[in-house]
């Protein structure tokens, strides 16, 4: 932000004749005038025939780091041009500033950090090594989690049930409104889009089958998982990442607690317990969305729509959706916590691991759902 007051406000007047001249400086030799001062001093030191220069600073109202820098540039250039420079009328304030700022004593700049060698190929190699290390980290974390889970199964009291209840509320209860709204609208949109086509064939009633099967088998679990990854997976990564940055995790470790058992397990267990319920809720709301279109747009009866839906769905479809939820919850919760534990540095690192948790979470959901689809096609 530049203010009028911050504009350069100085004068540099070269007086006298011949080799010895006086440069009268007045006004404020400050940071706002530095560029102009340097340019002006360059002009003065290149004056033909100049052998000595007396710089009169008695009218200088203020000198700051920028002014000192410009004066130092003047002295350097004068030395190169073999012009002798003497300062006179230096005020106490200006002298104080000159005592503390030493332009000629600056240490050399350190070399910039080198980029990885090899350009594009090198970057691919580096990326590959990082990916392998990352996968190894994830596998190791999963192993640690299973060990912790084994301990909890042997001694259920070792799980922090109070924390688990809190996370169940955060993941489940607090997530109900957004999961419900999105699912309802999705059911509504799906019913509406399919109704346009099915109406042409007089197959209005099959809208109920389409909405129910698509939502319960595929879209309900996927949509819920994506929402939970965005809401809770990211929160897990950010919470644990902040704890790492603030050395809280190290504190836990030296107090004899196992951080994955203490921090990750309650979150993952809570998510595993809540996800199937959220998916069922999502299915129900999506079917309600379809019902609204069926009744208002396709002139179906509520009873007819519900009967058609119940006929289309098998219990195994609902159970499969819930089972998917368990697996997705393990992936989202696990990757959220794992990414949190990898935070290193400050606030920036927390942001990075949070983004990474959401991206990796959604990626894993889609990969896992593809595997489900193949298994379902060939084996079920």
């Amino acid at each position: 932000m530049i203010h009028k007051k911050d504009m350069p406000n100085f004068q540099a007047v070269l007086q006298g004749e011949g080799g010895a001249r006086t440069l009268s400086l007045s006004g404020r030799l400050d940071v706002y005038a530095t560029d102009l001062l340097v340019a002006r001093f360059q002009q003065i030191t290149s004056t033909a025939g100049l052998t000595s220069l007396t710089v009169d600073m008695s009218e200088v109202a203020y000198l700051d780091t920028g002014g000192v820098m410009a004066l130092n540039v003047l002295q350097q250039q004068a030395a190169e041009a073999k012009v002798q420079v003497a300062l006179q009328g230096v005020s106490q304030q200006a002298q104080g500033m000159m005592d503390i700022i030493h332009y000629d004593e600056l240490k050399p700049m350190p070399p910039k950090p080198k980029r990885p060698p090899g350009g594009f190929v090198g970057a691919i190699g580096k990326g590959t090594f990082e990916l392998i290390a990352d996968v190894a980290d994830v596998i190791s974390f999963v192993g640690t989690l299973f060990l912790a889970l084994g301990r909890v199964i042997r001694r259920p009291r070792s799980l922090r049930w109070g924390d688990t209840e809190l996370y169940m509320e955060q993941v489940g209860v607090d997530g109900l409104p957004i999961v419900g709204l999105i699912s309802f609208l999705l059911g509504l949109i799906m019913a509406f889009m399919s109704a346009i086509q099915l109406k042409n064939f007089g197959a209005n009633i099959y809208v109920a089958d389409l909405v129910a099967l698509a939502m319960v088998r595929e879209l309900g679990p996927i949509m819920t998982a994506v929402l939970v990854a965005g809401r809770s997976g990211s929160a897990f990564a950010a919470e644990i990442g902040t704890m790492i940055v603030r050395e809280e995790v190290e504190a836990l470790e030296v107090m004899g607690f196992d951080p994955p058992t203490f921090l990750a397990l309650p979150r993952i267990v809570a998510m595993i317990m809540m996800m199937p319920l959220l998916i069922l809720f999502s299915d129900l709301l999506a079917i309600s969305g379809g019902l609204v279109i069926g009744v208002t747009y396709l002139n179906l009866t509520v009873y007819g729509y519900v009967q058609q839906t119940l006929g289309a769905l098998a219990v195994s479809d609902i159970l499969l959706g819930a089972f998917k939820g368990v697996i997705f919850a393990f992936l989202i919760g696990g990757i959220g916590c794992q990414r949190g534990f990898t935070a290193q540095g400050g606030a920036e690192a927390v942001g990075r691991v949070t983004t990474s948790a959401v991206v990796a979470g959604i990626f894993l959901i889609v990969v896992c759902d593809s595997i489900f689809a193949v298994v379902q096609y060939y084996f079920l």
Binding site: M1, I2, H3, K5, D6, M7, P8, N9, F10, Q11, A12, V13, L14, Q15, G16, E17, S26, G27, D30, V31, Y32, A33, T34, D35, L36, V38, A39, R40, Q43, D64, T65, G66, V68, M69, Q92, Q93, G96, M97, D99, I100, I101, H102, Y103, E105, L106, K107, P108, M109, P110, K112, P113, G345, G346, A347, E348
Partner: protein, 268 residues
Amino acid sequence: MEPVVTQTEPAMVQTPAAPVVKPIVVKDLTLGYGREPILTDVNLEVEPGEIVVIAGGSGCGKSTLLKGLVGLLAPIKGRVWLEGLEVTSADEKVLSQVRRKIGVAFQGGALFGSMTLAENVDLALADTARLSKAVRQVLVRLKLAVVDLDGYEEYYPSEISGGMQKRAGLARAMALDPTILFFDEPSAGLDPITSAELDQTILKINHALGTTMVVVTHELNSIYTIAHRVIMLDKSDKGIIAVGPPSDLRDKSTDPRVSNFFHRRPRN
């Protein structure tokens, strides 16, 4: 020969001599969070070039007062002027003018982790002054040299020690050569040598530049080294209980709270 006047420089603006104003004036300041006041009716004046230490036990409102002085905390009541400009006014223009006259060195340095030390110091310069990049680069290095950090321009805050971070925070606070510098717990968490070095840097800047300084600390060694005047706050009084040079407060104060503080004596 006629005097040569450069064409590039602007004509000097003649401003009337400003009346001498005290760098810091605080009147009937009541500060708190929500409705609960932590400090009530604080009155204070600081002379140019003075180093004032705000001292007191934990929770007495030292940092709250500092926040009130620099305009980070709106007062419940009262007014604050820095260099004649009212910090407590709601005028954004005035506030922005005030903020370019002051520098604040935060407890942990408060450096931006995603920027190098040079970029941290350059931030205010780039925003405020119309300067070429080359000139700014030299200015940044000069600022870092004042706190003995030249050579560390390209380092990130996470790559340097806590003491260096505090010094870099000071360099950033000094980027625009402020007339008033505020320090929040400069010695906290530092080893005695680094702490003494930071005290020397503070004194060096004060002697050379005549910068007015307000330092929040409860480190007695630092107080004796740097303070011209100590303002002692107390939780129970919610305000100032003693003002004076540190040696006077230590040797002459009859208030047991003051004397206990300066002699490191437990309350009971």
